[in-house]
Symmetry: C2
Subunit: 343 residues, 2 copies
């Protein structure tokens, strides 16, 4: 593979943050400590530790964490010798207050995440991160759902707020390889900062999409050991490291240590294996939020139609989080349409 | 995606054959019946039913089947209305005797499988298949381990024996996307018959490699629902169907039915989830047979070295099945080398 960037790759392990969803936010302090110690020894560059929905996510709405994330961040910083500890922040859920607290505990990197069309809400937090001396990174979620030009526009906004890298975040695992290529390519032509890629494995394409992103010049790559993450999970870090090594791309990460910690440290944390089941497959196929699944099932039952048709239609219309009231409307419309077709 | 062949895609479901390994050859007749019925209703073109190691594989050496495969083939033929029932035959394990028997029960398609360098042993069986009026297909296993020119030479041999299609079979899940591309491309330039691709998911690249193969002109594609297959399993059929549909490529297969049978029919058959664990990852990374894993572990213990180093060296040397006595030699050599390096 010929990479279109000569910067070294930086891998960010997200199992202790995105994986929080997969364990219903029940990480214990000792789990975080042993995972960080092992990841650090294996040479992983960055380790993200936060509630699954970012700083401040431990609420009734998003799911209460077993252990306060600040305690987990503190523990992670204590255990890490070389790896940097990262945090995630979704403006509106987390605030600059939590950001300052995480920074004071030793987190040195923050990813400020917004919906792909709403980069403007990240300004304050990216500025504050820079002010604090943290590395400030933009994270454009549901990147599949916006046209490429829109994605570029929003990434440039984040750059203007001080972001040192911007991520294409495939939250629904909905991107196809050629769509990753065109997105990273377009950003490389428009930004002067680094480009990142965060994949989900709903369509079993996370590793392959990540390779495409790396080839096109992405240098910040997210992975999760054993795919421990929301939905079908993320790019399986230890597999990615093996594939890159096989391709002659050195990440500086120790493959055998990664295999060992996948088996002995992260494996036992899994509540269930990260297979691709109907729910996550539909999510990737339709390109919708996982939170829509339950709503669509209810609406499907009510109107006597297949919930998957509702999800596909929601994806087609680009309905986003916060617009859940649209689900019933779409279901009613589809039901009406299918009735007309029968008549 | 622009496909380099205008022939329709033919999907062959291998969970009831390759998946036999994953369930220790314990398929029951009623499992086969319900799976075939559902796959047939979903519109899957071909369904392979045999012992994991092909016809005649039910032995002490390869593992005894719970139910005689001829009984399973007969049941599959009975349940299928449109799907063709395929069988696998490895010359040396299966013979023309079993082939005739499978044919008399209604199997209409045989894949004759040899190591990538040993196509010559398939002549008799491919000829016989044609004589019987079955569709005769060549299956070149461990295709990653031979140079492209060798693969082409061997595929041409199979074509000369009457094969109507030849498969690139990535038995160890060791191929990278660019290696799939160069292999399918080379075959397309040299054969006048159809080209097939059979992937394993050891490096989490099965679906992506399959897309590359289809783009380059492969028209015969193997998949297994829920990845039910040896090692990390195969290209997950229902995921592939979703991805192709998303790309605008119609397989004629009903996606929702595939999702439903994945959840309700095949899912309950799984003895364990098809995750990518150390064993299968090392296999894909090193490009070796799964049967080497245990041997390498024993040799590693005996010589005090990491079994993974042995496997990588075996892959580098292209050691194949039947050469297991080399494993101790390689281990001894590596141990000697590492001792010299310390001194």
């Amino acid at each position: 593979m010929i990479r279109k960037s000569d910067k070294p790759l930086q891998i960010t392990e997200v199992s202790l943050r995105d994986g929080s969803h997969a364990v219903a936010h029940q990480f214990t302090e000792s789990q975080i400590r042993s995972a960080v110690r092992a990841l650090d020894e294996a040479g992983v560059h960055n380790i993200e530790v936060s509630h699954g929905d970012g700083l401040g996510g431990s609420t009734l709405q998003y799911g209460r964490s077993l252990i306060d994330e600040m305690k987990l961040i503190e523990a992670a910083v204590e255990e890490s010798k070389q790896s940097r500890i990262a945090v995630l922040l979704l403006p509106g859920i987390g605030t600059v207050h939590e950001l300052k607290q995480a920074h004071s505990l030793g987190a040195s990197l923050v990813r400020v995440a917004t919906h792909v069309t709403e980069a403007d809400v990240s300004a304050q937090h990216l500025h504050m991160a820079r002010e604090l001396g943290m590395e400030a990174i933009g994270f454009l979620m549901m990147s599949h759902s916006a046209p490429v030009a829109k994605l570029v526009e929003q990434a440039k906004l984040m750059e203007s707020y001080g972001a040192e890298a911007v991520y294409v975040t495939d939250s629904a695992g909905a991107l196809l390889p050629h769509q990753v290529k065109e997105r990273i390519e377009a950003l490389r032509g428009s930004l002067s900062i680094e480009i990142g890629f965060h994949a989900h494995n709903n369509l079993s394409l996370a590793v392959a999409n990540t390779l495409v992103a790396i080839e096109e010049g992405a240098t910040r790559i997210d992975g999760s050991v054993r795919c421990l993450g929301a939905g079908a999970g993320n790019t399986q870090t230890e597999v990615l490291v093996a594939v890159l090594q096989k391709m002659g791309i050195n990440t500086g990460i120790d493959l055998y240590r990664m295999m060992d910690l996948a088996e002995h440290i992260i494996g036992p944390m899994l509540h269930r294996p990260q297979e691709i089941l109907t729910g996550s497959l539909v999510m990737g196929y339709a390109g919708v939020y996982s939170s829509f699944l339950l709503h669509a099932e209810r609406a499907g039952k009510r109107f006597g139609i297949d919930s998957r048709d509702i999800l596909v239609e929601l994806g087609r219309r680009g309905i986003i989080g916060g617009q859940e009231d649209m689900i019933l409307d779409v279901a009613a419309e589809l039901a009406h349409k299918s009735k007309s077709e029968v008549l």
